[in-house]
Amino acid sequence: MARTEIVGLPELLARCAAGDRAALTEMFHRHRATVFGVARVLRLPPEDVEDLAQTTFGAFADYAHRIRNADALPTWFARTARHEGLRILRLRGREVLTDTVPEGSYDEPVDDELADRARSLRRAVDGLPGRDRELVVFMLTRPDASYREISEAIGMPVGSIGPIRGRAFGRLRELLAAEGINGALLDS
């Protein structure tokens, strides 16, 4: 993919609004982890991840000229991706979320010790109750996300994120311990 030189968001936004292809490519690249995070939170299967990306990025390409404040772009992508993700869930008749993971939705990693620990982490994360899981999944996908981005991406008030975050990671620690994992997970 052609990448443009590193520029700040205001300049990138202005170039996108003018229809600059390289700038749009760069903008999409910078926000793809947000789209992926929302897809994970909503448990979209791979083919729906692609639909989510196309409708979210398509909306940006169509409306970039109307966005005035470049500082709002990260939250714009988080909000739009969630809106489009919920639309896709409804379209597929799967808007009722369950706590079971669809089997084989994602490609299996190679079977070695590292993969075993990754699977244990996945089980621990999926063992978290609904809102806790959504927050942890998004934070693991976008460790640098601001509270406002998290709020838009998972539909949680900003003021709830701090308290739920403390509780959720506490539970994750317990679930990881139950999987026999402590600090060792962090060693590669």
Binding site: M1, G19, R21, L24, T25, F28, H29, R32, A33, V35, F36, A39, R40, P46, E47, V49, E50, D51, A53, Q54, T55, F57, G58, A59, A61, D62, Y63, E84, R87, I88, R90, L91, Y106, D107, E108, P109, L114, A115, R117, A118, R119, L121, R122, V125, V137, M139, L140, T141, P143, R165, G166, R167, F169, G170, L172, R173, L185, L186, S188
Partner: protein, 157 residues
């Protein structure tokens, strides 16, 4: 005093990397990049954008009125110069679409989708019909004589 464990006591980057391994994140991010390319390839910089103003999928009243087994979906796009109402029907794995342009006019219709594009035409009453579309994101392009081209936003069908 009990110290509540917090995100700060985890290395989020490392935990995230482990989750990525389990989720096949590399393949999924490649799909996201492919979708980004598809958006760029299908753009007409001269076209007016018709926004999705109504989607029956997001309308609980409409959904509750639907009898079970009915699969129609109604979409309405508008821009300054025209509006386009579309009814989408699920035909097994494929989708068919009937549309109405207002004000009514003959128009060349091109629908971009995952497999490429499908062409059709609206008659003098502004009606058009397109069969055998793939599921997934679509965008309609509408060209009328003497008018600026119109493109709808992407929507998954």
């Amino acid at each position: 005093m009990r110290i509540v464990p917090d995100a700060d006591s985890f290395d989020l980057d490392l935990l995230g990397a482990r989750l990525d391994e389990e989720d096949g994140a590399v393949q999924l991010l490649a799909r996201i990049d492919a979708a980004a390319e598809a958006v760029l390839d299908a753009r007409d910089p001269d076209a007016a954008v018709a926004s999705l103003e109504y989607d029956s999928v997001l309308d609980d009243d409409w959904r509750s009125r639907l009898r079970s087994g009915r699969t129609q979906r109604v979409l309405a796009f508008t821009t300054k110069s025209c509006s386009v109402d579309v009814e989408v029907e699920v035909v097994i794995e494929r989708r068919s679409m009937t549309g109405q342009i207002a004000p009514p006019a003959e128009a060349a219709i091109v629908i971009s989708h995952r497999e490429g594009s499908t062409s059709s035409a609206a008659d003098g009453q502004g009606r058009f019909l397109v069969d055998d579309l793939p599921a997934g994101p679509v965008r309609l392009s509408i060209r009328r004589d003497g008018e600026r081209p119109v493109e709808t936003t992407w929507v998954a069908i």
